[in-house]
Symmetry: C2
């Protein structure tokens, strides 16, 4: 097996690839902010004006000069002259002078002269134009200052940030109804294998349907790219070379799942080497599944040869392809990984020096029956075990999920269909023990 | 404040709402599996045939009768007659009889008569039509049996499951190029408030741009629903009633962010009561932010009155609206929450009996410098701290992120823009301590 003489660790492999790629310069497009959820901000966004633009009350109550309330209490109220009501959605025309007050509503603009608001419940009206103030307030109390949410010129979100519901709202609050985002990079996906056929037909004996084109296109689309599938090609040097070449001409990155045999992988490597500089950088990664992974660069574009086994291809999609797509989008490769903490159910052995990725099913153990839930089964609207998990995990400092490994050959796609996440066993570990708390990366 | 005499805990509030909703019957549509990522499977899917449909080799090597290899070793090989090669993508026409073998490639169909495969590296060719077998194999070794991935009739994924990359591949492997999914439920969203204006204009003094319509529509769309925004309505009983009524006629669920004042919330409650049975179920929830939340049902449809403060509205969107959208999609309300374990940087006090939700910024502390990374800043392609975190967390059993609370008034949307997640402080806790490990729910 000369091809695998030097297996690099996955992280080192990815680093080597990244060092050989140019700094990404994502193309951008300007789209409606309302449709931008999940997209990536392409330019540093600065606040064009402060928010709020005027001092606002945070409560229902009475606008005052704080100094007028000093010492006020239930037994010794301050008496202020009621001069009117601040309207909502307009600048108040009235002005609060010493010993005066005005009705104000939550969100209303503070009138001139006032610097604080006394909550409704700490006031009392005795005569028509006079309020008893029963509690002292400090200057600025119950008021949002101009620019307290964001100041003019503040960086409200750096480029490379993903747009979530909060960002959509934040952009709208400053009048950004359009936003410049990174264009979706295009990822070309090629399947090879003489036994692989399009999923729509009925495979003949010896044939199997294409899986990898679809798991990978789903994965890159989920990560924010556009996938172009180049179909299934024959395990021949000419077809492989032609397909990668065609994909490189149009795409920002190319994935090819090699045919399953060693010779087919060698052809993939040779094709990558023939199509641009520097060609193959990593041929063989010290990981399971995924040893035959090939990482290359052809004239500035990443070309990844993934193993033909569906589980290997998908797992290494998460390991190598997702960070590369993020990078093309201008995002940090090092993003927070959504994960769930869980207790391992069994021992998992692992070979030292090799990184293992194990499909994991998460199990919520011993759900505590909830009075209204009995007999309603999995579709019950009452999430008792979820509630239970959250509450216990907070009080006891640990999650309640069980992590059950799904062992199976790396050709069995349904090991991944049944999995909630992946567990990484680091190269320096020789395994994990039953009962250990582990972090399961959600897929 | 008579409206808040009985504050229910959030979970109890949600349960009360769920008990008053009919069992969801999501409408379905049949779509292309390639475009189905993120959608929800609407019917239990059974395997129409086993996978694989024929026994396949998992290695490059030689198909044999296992019994012929018993006792074989380097010093005492078994000698088998080489009768040919199994083609890829076709049923082999040859048959392996006793003392015979045939070349087979990874993924190839096992020929008749053979029951195991010897790996290439444990074989040696001495004369043209004879192979030396240097290692014994057991019956079935290096072979995937018929149905080993999935058996005919197996439930491959229950209805209510989300379609991820693995499911797309699994469906394709069985020829499901189309899949029946739950239609996106329609969520109507109404903003009210006399001070709130559309984001496209320039607000006059006293006015603010609408935020809640957009954070909430982004959130429900992200969760899998379609949002219809009914714009900003005046804080008047007639407008509120008319808007909710119009939304109920078309939508599966209605959200209204009440104007900020107490009287406006009371109008929302009265409007819900007037529009269907049983009307308001919960008026006031023991949570912060979000106390003024109103949960109601009008003739089988949930109507949620969320507080007008943008942070309250969004946080309670995560708490109440996301589970309800999932339920409309036929998903379990109790789903795995993507979260990250982190160490709290400061003490957070909390009032016993009240559930608190705190926006959290995640910080990766003391990144270990990596040789190639120096001076490359945040956009560095080398995820050293992420790698570091993952490796340390696995060996030490704890995450490395720091969780830094973002304290701020619940009107300040940029506290959410700056947050990576939310931390829940359970009602029975009186706070959390600096240094505690907490679970931060990613938003």
């Amino acid at each position: 097996m000369p091809e695998f003489l030097t297996l690099l660790p996955p992280q080192e492999s990815l680093d080597k690839l990244l060092r050989n790629l140019p700094e990404p310069q994502p193309a951008t497009e300007t789209i409606h902010t309302v449709s931008a959820t999940g997209r990536v901000i392409a330019t540093d966004l600065l606040a064009p004006h402060p928010l709020p633009e005027f001092p606002r009350s945070t409560v229902d109550g009475y606008a005052v000069k704080a100094a007028d309330t000093y010492g006020a209490s239930d037994s010794l109220p301050a008496y202020l002259k009621l001069i009117g009501e601040c309207p909502m959605g307009k600048a108040p025309t009235l002005e609060v002078n010493a010993a005066e007050t005005a009705i104000i509503h939550t969100g209303g603009m503070l009138p001139k002269g006032a610097d604080a608001v006394v909550m409704l419940e700490y006031t009392q009206q005795t005569v028509e134009d006079e309020m008893e103030i029963l509690r002292a307030v400090a200057d600025g109390e119950n008021v949002i200052r101009i620019g307290e949410d964001v100041a003019e010129g503040d960086l409200i979100k750096p480029k490379g940030s993903a747009i979530r519901p909060a960002e959509v709202g934040g952009l709208m609050s400053l009048g950004f109804t359009m936003v410049e985002v990174a264009k979706r990079p295009i990822v070309g996906i090629i399947s090879s294998g003489d036994e692989v056929v399009h999923p729509s037909g009925t495979p003949k004996p010896g044939q199997v349907r294409d899986i990898n084109s679809y798991t990978l296109s789903s994965l890159v689309e989920k990560t924010g790219a556009e996938a172009i599938r180049y179909g299934v090609i024959a395990d021949e040097m000419d077809s492989i070379q032609a397909a990668i070449g065609r994909a490189l001409a149009r795409c920002d990155m190319v994935l090819i799942t090699a045919g399953s045999s060693a010779s087919s992988r060698d052809m993939t490597a040779a094709a990558i080497d023939s199509l641009g500089e520097p060609g193959v950088l990593v041929h063989g990664v010290n990981t399971r599944p995924g040893k035959p992974t090939i990482l290359g660069v052809c004239d500035g574009k990443a070309v990844i040869g993934l193993p033909g086994n569906p589980v290997s291809a998908l797992v290494n999609g998460y390991v190598f392809v997702v960070p590369l797509v993020r990078r093309l989008l201008g995002q940090s490769v090092a993003m927070v990984q959504p994960s769930v903490r869980a207790k391992l159910t069994v021992n998992i052995p692992s070979q030292a020096g090799r990184e293992d990725w194990i499909p994991i099913r998460l199990i919520a153990p011993s759900p505590i029956p909830f009075p209204d839930e009995r007999g309603r089964g999995a579709m019950s609207p009452l999430p008792s075990w979820e509630r239970d998990r959250l509450e216990r995990s907070e009080s006891q400092g640990e999650g309640l999920y069980l992590a059950e490994p799904i062992f199976g050959k790396s050709n069995l796609i349904f090991t991944m269909v049944g999995a909630d996440g992946l567990l990484k066993i680091a190269p320096d570990a020789t395994g994990l023990s039953a009962g250990e708390m582990v972090e399961v990366i959600l897929i």
